[in-house]
Each structure stands twice: as structure tokens, then as C-alpha cells.
Amino acid sequence: MKPYKKHRMGRRGESGKRERPEVDHSLVADSNVLKHFASYATELDLKHDKYERIVKFSRDITIESKRIIFFLHSADKENSKHDLLKDADIRLRQLENTLFKSVGEELNGEDPYQFLRAYTSGLQEFVEACTFYQYLKFKKLEGWNCLQQTLKFNIDENSKEGCVNETSAKTCSVLMPPSEYVLGVADLTGELMRNCINCLGSGQFESCMETCAFVKEIYNGFLSVGNSGPKEFSRKLFTLKQSLHKMENACYTICVRGSEIPQNRLVDVLQDASEVFEEDEGFY
């Protein structure tokens, strides 16, 4: 029983130097089959452990990215915006240089596609945070190539104890396939919608319209790609459409009733309107 339990714990706990108690070495020496399987076991463990480590990094990346996004949402007042954006930029760079660098080191010398599924969620969240920052700062997006550039790192001399077999390469990177980038942008539209409604609440109608126009462009972009995209595409496109409807509704409310209603009531009016709308769509 004990060895079994140990093995279970090894699986969940810290990876790395796990004991392999169930291997009876006297048996291994005799049998050709077992000799081979002993090496397969090592190989599989190495791969699985690496995968798990990357999943952990990815989870941390997701958390920090979400925090940055939340932080950026407080950047609606023009006067404080500058400082906020600067802080957000620092946090994003920091995220790149710590967690992403760790992922890069894990991926060094590997086929990144083999581990893509381990870090895809973190990557998409990161794209969302970066593009949200870019939008607030420059009102435009940088393509995936720019982001990919920021995910290239130099490896320090002897960075890891020994779990990664650092080859001759001096740089490592975290691969960002364009499809991951585009899926991240799809998530971005949800944040833009929130940002748009916030602006409405604080009376920045100009910025409302601007954001709405921006999301429209993204929507057009998605339509132009059509169904040829990756699997999650259609689901994200559906959400994107919902967000866009809300924003268009907001802009409509501003134009039609903006002069009648006091600014601080506008959001309430809008909320009611969008609820009615959602019922119509059979959403919820």
C-alpha cells in the first residue's frame, strides 16, 4: 500500500525528484521487457512533470493577467490614467520576465506545440491584458508579432538545477501561435464592453463611441475570417456579438436620450434596456 500512496502523492505534489518505489530492480535486471519499460517510465515522467509545471505557470499567468485587467478598468478618469497605464505596463513587463520566462525555459529545446495546451489559457489571458493595455494607451492593437517579440528571453548562465537540459541555445521563447492571439483578442472585446459601459457611467460619451467603433472593427475582422478559424472560434464570436449589441445599445441610448436623462441615471436606464434585450434573445 505504502508505495502506491507515495506514488499518488508524487503525482500531485511538487514534481521533480520523485521516488519510484514500485520498480523492483532485481526483476528489471532479468527482463528485457522491463528494462525497456524502465526507460519509458522515465521518459513519460519527464514529459508529464514538465507539462504539469507549465500548467502551474500558466495558472499564475492567468491570475496576474486578470488582476492587471481589473486594474486597468479603474483607468477611466483622464487625470489618473497616465500613472495607471504606467503601472500596468510595469506589471505586464514583470509578468513577461518572470512567469513567461519560466515557461520559456521549460520549452527550451522542446516542440512548443507539444505543450501548447498546457499554457494556452494563460497565454490568451495575457494577450487580453496586453491588448487591453494597448487599446487604452494607443487606441490600437499591435499584431502578434510584436507580442511574440516580447516573449523572447535570454537564458541566464545556470538558471535551473537540472530539470531542463539546457542546450547550446542562448535564447528561449514562448511560442504564440496567431490563433491564440486572435482568441485573446476575442476575449478583449468583453473587457472593452465593460470599459464602454464604465465610460458611460462617468459621462465620457466620446470614449464610448470610440470603443464601440473599435469593437465593430474587430467584429468585422472575425466575420472576414468566417468559419475557417480554430474550434473555439464560433463560441467566442457569439459572445463577441452579445457584447457588441450591448455597446451599440449604449451608444443608441446616449444619442436618443442623452439630453433628457441626468448623466448619473443613464447607466440604470441602459441596464434595463439591455436586460429586456437579452430576454428577447433567449439568453440566460
Binding site: R11, F37, D111, Y113, Q114, K139, L141, G143, E217, G221
Partner: protein
């Protein structure tokens, strides 16, 4: 003002590119699949009444077809961009699992022995490690071994039906060792694990057959020296098997 259309048109370009690569890969894997099916059918003769006699010829023919497979893999290699094996892995994963099963089956029928990852890779003309180029994924190889186990469980039953009473003992020993090997691995909760869970039923089936034989005194006298299964082969010839009731200490089974 905005660069969004550019981003999306670049993305469209990326998708189109990927699509055409996938098309080419698909054509090549389809060819490999066709050959794999032919080999599979060739080897199905082991389950027939006169199968045992045909085994050497079937293996011969299958090995010839493996040459085609090697060439087809060669073409596939050309279609897969370097360092993107796992991006497109799904396309050839299934057929590669099947082929590593078939190679292992041929090896078993020929020599009665286990075949290692490196040997299967060599038979298919693939590298063994990722760093050496287009390789045989370890998990695909292992799934092939599990497929072999379920095929042997079936073979065991049919062999007995057609009078080969030595085969189950050999298969039982073979699977015992294989399963000892698999039990050394730590599985994640993935498809390999699910397949591994099926292994015990295959072993159970074989053990039942061995039990049935021994309880009726049908087990051949000499324990099959499985280290040297070539000894096994001659005994297996079906005409003898059926005619002489499996040789040895055969008591009529009711």
C-alpha cells in the same frame, strides 16, 4: 486609423497557409492508412482455421508492405514543417499507433518476442527521439503495444479452437511480462491510461483459456520455453494440431 483589418487579413493568410499544409499531410496519411489496412487484413489470417500454416507467408507479405509504409512516411516527413511535429500530430497519430501494433504483431508471430520502441521506430523508418527528426511518439508506441495485447487475447482463443494448445501458454507469459512493464509507468488521466485499463481484461481472458486447458489436461507436456519460441513454431502447424489432438498428454476433453 486602426490596424485591425491588417491583423485579421494576416491571420487569414496564416489560416490559409495552415490549411494547405494540412491538406498535403492528409493526402499522405490517407495513403499510409490504406497500407496499414492491407497489413491488418493480411494478418487477420491468424484467426482462421488454417491460419497457423499461413503465418510465415503472411508475415513475409506484411514485411514487404512495411517497405511501402516506410516510403509513405518519407513523403509525410517532407510535408511536415520542421519542429512542428506536434502541431499536426493528430493527423497521423491513429495510423501510427496502428502500425506500431502491426509491427509488434509481426514481430511476435515471427519470433515470439517483445519489440522495443526503438525497434518499432526503425521498422517504420522513423526516428526514436524527437531531437532526431520525425519520430515515433512514445505514447503512440505504447498504445500499439496495448492493441497487441487485445489482439493476442483474441488470437489465443482462436488458436485453441483450431487445436494449437501451446499458444495460450506462450501468450500468457508474454502478456504477463508486458503488463509488468506497463505497471512501471505513471499514467496521467489520458487515453493511454484508459487503454491500459483494458489490459487486465485481455490478460484475464488468456488466463481463462490457460485454465480451461490445464483443467482438462490439454496443456502440452513441455512447458513452452518462451525464450526460444522458434521451438514453438513447428508444433503449431495446424494439421498436426488438429490431427493429433495437440500432441503430448492429451486426454480427450469430454
Amino acid at each position: 486609423m486602426s490596424n485591425i483589418p491588417e491583423i485579421f487579413s494576416a491571420f487569414q493568410g496564416y489560416l490559409d497557409n495552415e490549411h494547405s499544409v494540412r491538406e498535403v499531410i492528409r493526402t499522405h496519411t490517407r495513403e499510409i492508412e490504406a497500407t496499414a489496412r492491407e497489413i491488418l487484413i493480411t494478418l487477420q489470417c491468424i484467426h482462421q482455421a488454417n491460419g497457423a500454416k499461413e503465418i510465415p507467408a503472411a508475415c513475409e507479405r506484411s514485411r514487404k508492405k512495411l517497405e511501402d509504409v516506410r516510403q509513405q512516411y518519407e513523403q509525410l516527413k517532407g510535408a511536415v514543417p520542421e519542429d512542428q511535429y506536434y502541431r499536426f500530430h493528430d493527423h497521423w497519430r491513429f495510423v501510427t499507433q496502428r502500425l506500431s501494433f502491426l509491427v509488434a504483431l509481426i514481430q511476435y508471430l515471427d519470433t515470439g518476442e517483445f519489440i522495443s520502441h526503438a525497434e518499432v521506430a526503425a521498422e517504420l523508418g522513423l526516428a526514436c527521439r524527437r531531437t532526431d527528426g520525425f519520430h515515433l511518439d512514445l505514447e503512440d508506441y505504447l498504445i500499439g503495444q496495448l492493441d497487441l495485447a487485445s489482439e493476442l487475447a483474441r488470437f489465443c482463443v482462436n488458436a485453441v479452437t483450431f487445436g494449437d494448445y501451446a499458444r495460450p501458454l506462450h501468450i500468457s507469459k508474454f502478456l504477463g511480462e508486458l503488463s509488468a512493464g506497463f505497471r512501471m509507468l505513471n499514467f496521467k488521466n489520458d487515453s493511454l491510461r484508459k487503454r491500459f485499463d483494458g489490459l487486465k481484461y485481455n490478460i484475464k481472458k488468456v488466463e481463462e483459456v490457460v485454465y480451461d486447458l490445464s483443467i482438462r489436461g490439454l496443456k502440452p507436456s513441455g512447458e513452452p520455453s518462451s525464450g526460444d519460441p522458434s521451438e514453438l513454431e513447428p508444433k503449431v502447424s495446424p494439421s498436426e494440431g488438429v490431427g493429433e489432438g495437440g500432441g503430448g498428454p492429451t486426454n480427450s476433453a469430454d
